[in-house]
Symmetry: C2
Subunit: 122 residues, 2 copies
DNA sequence: ACAACCTACAACCATATGGTTGTAGGTTGT
DNA sequence: ACAACCTACAACCATATGGTTGTAGGTTGT
C-alpha cells in the first residue's frame, strides 16, 4: 500500500469485470492451459474475430493474460499469479467474516446469560 | 452437474459482475462483518439511497448477500459460502494452469535433448 | 392519529459494454 | 511478387449499467 489504494480498486474492478463474462472465462481457461494465438481462440467461438480480439484485450488490460508476438501471431498466455491475486481478495473478504464470528464468540463468552445469539452489529 | 451447466455460468456471471464494482465490494465487506440495514449502508456512501439499494439488490441477486426483514428495516448479511464458491472457481482455473505445467514437465522428461523449454501448445 | 422513517420500484438519463463490418498494415510461403 | 493470413482498430449499433428524482406503502414512536 505504497500510496495508490485507489489504483488497487481500479485493478480489482478490471479483474472482476474481465471475469464476469463466460466467453472471457473460457478464453482464460484455454490460455492458462497453454499459449494460443488470437485467431486460434477465435475459431472456437461463434462470434467474429474482432469480438474475440476485444475479449482478449479486456483480459490483457486486466492483467489476467499476457501476449507475446511471434511473427504474425499474437500468442496469449494466462497469468496464474493474477488469478491468485483475485483469489487473495476473496480470502480477505472471508477474513472479514471470520472477524464477525470471533466478535460474536467474544460476546457469548462475556455474557453467558444470552439465550440465543441474535447478532445485531451497528 | 445435475443438468444446468448453463445456469452455473449465469451464476458465475452474476457473481463476478457483482464484485466488479468498488461500492459493492465495500458493501459486501461491511455485511460480512455484520448485519446492516440498507439505510445504514446508504449513509456511508456519497450517492442516493436508491443507488445503494440497487447495489444491494445486485449483490442479493448474485447470492452474495441475504436479506431478512425486521420491522421496517431490511437487514443485509454477507454469505461467506457464496464468497467461497467464487474462490473455488478461481482455484479450478489454477488447477488448469497446473495441468499445463505438468504437461511441460512430461515433455521435458520424455525428450532430454530439449535445450530450452520453449512451450508451444497447439 | 400522525409525523418520521425505511424500503421498493418506476421512469429517466448518460455512458459503458458486447457485438457487428470494414479498413489497413505487417508476416509468411510459394 | 503476391495471395493468404493474422492482428489491430475505427465506426457503428442495441442493450446493459450506474446513477438520478419521484411516488407509494408499510413500520414506529409519541
Amino acid at each position: 500500500m505504497t500510496h495508490g489504494d485507489h489504483q488497487d480498486e481500479d485493478r480489482a474492478d478490471a479483474m472482476f469485470h474481465a471475469l464476469a463474462d463466460r466467453t472471457r472465462r473460457d478464453i482464460l481457461r484455454r490460455v492458462l492451459a497453454g499459449e494460443h494465438s488470437v485467431s486460434a481462440l477465435a475459431a472456437s467461438y461463434d462470434m467474429s474475430f474482432a469480438a474475440v480480439q476485444k475479449h482478449v484485450a479486456v483480459l490483457e488490460r486486466a492483467g489476467l493474460i499476457t501476449k507475446r508476438r511471434t511473427g504474425r501471431e499474437a500468442l496469449a498466455s494466462g497469468d496464474v499469479e493474477a488469478v491468485r491475486s483475485v483469489g487473495s481478495m476473496l480470502t480477505e473478504l472471508e477474513a472479514v467474516w471470520r472477524g464477525r464470528i470471533a466478535r460474536i464468540d467474544d460476546l457469548i463468552a462475556q455474557d453467558p446469560a444470552s439465550s440465543h445469539p441474535t447478532e445485531r452489529t451497528e
